[in-house]
Amino acid sequence: MRRGGTALALLGLAAAVAFPLLTTRVTWQNAAILMMMTAQLGVAWNILGGYAGQVSLGHAAFFGAGAYVSTLLSVKLGVSPWLGMGAGAVVAAGLGVLVGTPCFRLKGHYFAMATIAVGEIVQALVNGSDALGGAVGFNLPLGETGFWGFVFNRSKLPYYYIALGLLLATVGVNWIVNRSHVGYYLRAIKDEPDAARSLGVSLTRYKMIAMILSAGLTAMGGTLYAQKELFIDPGSTLSTSLSIKIALVAILGGAGTLWGPVLGAVVLTAIEEATRIAFGGTGRGTDLVVYGALLVVIAVFQPSGIAGLFTRRAPRPPAPPEPEARFP
């Protein structure tokens, strides 16, 4: 089983690395970049929302932090966006601690609602702040800069491989978390918080670790977005609909699984693009009807996410034979 999974992952990785060499069609490359960027956000969200079970619907605030910090640093101070990416992650992590401190006391829907509130507040404040570009946002300079400057015009490939690299790094962090005691603790917190505490698990500390990782990685995705689109404004980087989409990707694929959010991003982007291309030109909302209906159908028939399709029937390895334990 596990070996099969590794082989599958390696195969997927090889395909991902080779993909842009197989097709030079910009549309496909763009779609692939979009999928990977979306997947990266879902995977980052998954650490907090999936493993730790803290359903955040305010992750756009972290995404925006990444986009705004790197942009401000590069536009105002000429700092390389690569450094800005790190700075953005730190700021987002700090914001995460700020959000988590009051909100982690809240349970379930209350926590989700509080994160929506935080996201909306951040958007309104940035929108009203002239120093942060207000409602207008920022245009980044367009000139090709080479790697260090993080702007590429001649080819999509740099963005493609950066998106792939960031996605792999994010999956890697997830993998490490999942394999370490932190991952076990997060799942324990999600299942039975009181029982976890009785076993010495500090809820605040581990939720906070999840928050910091999740927020920081989300922010890195925000920097990549800013450098790829070279334009940011509150509507496109801080909106609640973005927050919901980030969560949706992970939930669709399977929250709390390693590859679920990646699958979710692939499927969601495919559905979105297909419905838009097939029905979008009609201007009648047909694309939304089909898209919405598909979401409902998936939620109803595959409630554990698409990843559930692959794991549900998979038998666990049988326990090694051993003499039945008896009480003396």
């Binding site: 929302g49 359903v55 009051p102 006391r105 809240l106 349970k107 379930g108 829907h109 209350y110 989700a112 609602m113 509080a114 929506i116 509130a117 935080v118 909306e120 507040i121 309104a124 404040l125 929108n127 009203g128 609640t240 919901i244 969560a247 949706l248 939930i251 669709l252 929250a255 201007g283 009648r284 909302g285 047909t286 694309d287 939304l288 009807v289 089909v290 898209y291 919405g292 209906a293 598909l294 979401l295 409902v296 998936i298 939620a299 109803v300 409630p303 554990s304 996410g305």
Partner: protein, 288 residues
């Protein structure tokens, strides 16, 4: 002058708050009974508005006249949504429930755009047109009627839950599903009833709003955020909590916008919410 303006603003805030409350009590009722947050609730409101609009546009019937029909229609829509979709995800994890109702929201918006085009519509004359003026204050009659309707509907729902056998059964299901089942209450029926009443409340609100608010496929998104805040602020599942939260939020939003900066009126409302849950994580009247 200033006192008048302040009083006028305060009362306007209360009028709006009452309509907010009406949207929110349906949402909180559904949550209380089923532990499901209905992201598509704003779309029930939207359907209520369109029902009122089409009765007006096609047959010249006033939204106030067709209000009982709109209410019944939305009750049926609520029950249908429960039967066709929600019933199947009753025991699913919270995440996939969010996912399903979110999909419903997108579906309904798309459907409205498909059927009725994305245009803005409005009911351009109604029997409740006009103004109410007293002591130097003036209010649009539609707003006053809407607020009054909201109070009556909320009171009716409250009385239903409090004083009828069916309402008691609904409350019992909300409190403890297993115990209710042991008492011979059919949970499926109660769930359907909650969705019916929840959607009907949104339908009443939609019909009342149609007398003065523009109607368009995405109108639900305008009200849903406030409704969420009310439900969480009042305490998930608490009808009375949502009612008082509605008035509170209405006042804070309108007074805050007037005295401070309208650009930050929602920031004020959301901050109020965060402050309240900081001290009372279960909301104003929620069960701990």
């Amino acid at each position: 002058m200033t006192v008048e303006l302040l009083l006028q603003t305060l009362l306007s805030g209360i009028l709006f708050g009452l309509v907010y409350a009406l949207v929110a009590i349906g949402l909180t009722l559904i949550f209380g009974v089923m532990d499901i947050v209905n992201f598509a609730h704003g779309e029930f409101l939207m359907f209520g508005m369109y029902a009122a609009f089409w009765a007006f546009a096609l047959w010249g019937l006033d939204p106030i006249v067709t209000l009982p029909l709109t209410t019944l229609l939305l009750f049926a829509v609520g029950v249908a949504v429960y039967r066709l979709v929600i019933r199947r995800i009753t025991d699913a994890p919270m995440l996939s429930q969010i996912f399903a109702t979110f999909g419903l929201m997108i579906f309904f918006r798309g459907l409205a755009q498909y059927l009725w085009k994305p245009d803005f519509r409005s009911v351009d004359h109604t029997i409740v047109a006009g103004k109410v003026a007293f002591a130097g204050l003036q209010f649009g009659l539609p707003q006053v009627v809407a607020a009054g309707g909201a109070v009556l509907t909320t009171a009716a729902v409250w009385a239903f839950l409090r004083f009828t056998r069916l309402g008691a059964a609904l409350e019992a299901t909300a409190a403890d599903k297993e115990a209710a089942a042991l008492m011979g209450i059919d949970a499926q029926k109660m769930f359907a009833l909650a969705w019916g009443i929840g959607a009907a409340c949104a339908g009443v609100a939609g019909a009342l709003l149609a007398t003065y608010y523009p109607i368009f496929p995405e109108v639900g998104s305008t009200f849903i955020l406030v409704a969420f805040v009310l439900v969480a602020l009042g305490g998930f599942g608490s009808v009375v909590g949502a009612f008082w939260a509605g008035i509170l939020v209405g006042i804070v939003e309108v007074m805050g916008g007037f005295l401070w900066d309208p650009a930050y009126k929602m920031v004020l409302v959301l901050s109020l919410y965060l402050i309240v849950v900081w001290f009372r994580p279960q909301g104003l009247m929620g069960k701990a």
